[in-house]
């Protein structure tokens, strides 16, 4: 169905270029596993941002474990340390390169500690406008 022809590894992100064989549509998927540290995360967002700004208008999807939330409501727990700077950096990254964060269906959170109290939305898909044009009616589901 698809073929991959180019991959490269940056710290905390694996980038793959591929093509849908049937239609010839090309795409780039970045698989992210972000660190916990605020400064390291900020550096990661900047590196991904520079990469995207240099490749132009493509079918682009960044997905993975961002270890960040976009608002206070995306994290619940007994002793929640809400890091505003983390959230601001993450939002600036998403808004700065005009990524589309589709509404989440299925569940509100993607990570559960297992105590029934602590949960957060750490995983997501961020899409380029072109991706949403190429494959319309995309939905984001936590399952």
């Amino acid at each position: 169905m698809v073929e991959l022809w180019c991959t490269f590894s940056l710290r905390h992100v694996l980038v793959t270029k591929g093509r849908v064989i049937a239609t010839g549509q090309e795409f780039i998927i970045a698989n992210v596993y972000a660190p916990c540290d605020t400064a390291m995360k900020h550096d990661l967002w900047n590196r991904i941002m520079n990469f995207i700004l240099n490749i132009g208008d493509v079918n682009f999807c960044i997905c993975g474990d961002f270890n960040s939330v976009r608002s206070e409501t995306e994290r619940k727990g007994r002793s929640v340390v809400f890091r505003q700077l983390d959230t601001n950096n993450f939002n600036n990254f998403i808004d700065g390169i005009l990524l589309i964060d589709l509404p989440l269906c299925g569940r509100m959170f993607t990570w559960y500690r297992g105590d029934g109290i602590s949960m957060s939305r750490l995983d997501r898909f961020l899409l380029s406008t072109k991706w949403c044009d190429s494959w319309p009616n995309c939905i984001q589901v936590a399952c």
């Binding site: 991959l4 549509q25 795409f27 993975g64 297992g114 750490l122 898909f125 190429s134």
Partner: protein, 83 residues
């Protein structure tokens, strides 16, 4: 208690075109038989085009290993060693 991470998928609609379904899952270790069986079931059930896994906790992956989670259908893969 151990944390659990849910599977996560994005589905591309579009009636006439190809469905671009991507699964993303922080597996927190992919070496164990049970976890691989779980991922294999997820792939069989959801029929994704692309699967992105995080935190495999493995340093080397090969064709044989990939077949244990993807099955016998042809596929490409790439990975970053966990270290």
């Amino acid at each position: 208690m151990r944390g659990v991470r849910g599977g996560f998928e994005g589905v591309g609609g579009g009636g006439a075109g190809v469905k671009m379904k991507v699964i993303c899952y922080n597996v927190r270790g992919l070496g164990g038989f049970e976890k691989r069986a779980e991922v294999r079931c997820l792939i069989q059930e959801k029929q994704p085009v692309v699967v992105c896994l995080q935190e495999s906790k493995l340093n080397v992956l090969d064709d044989f290993f990939i077949k244990t989670i993807w099955g016998s259908a042809p596929c490409d893969y790439c990975y970053q060693a966990s270290n």
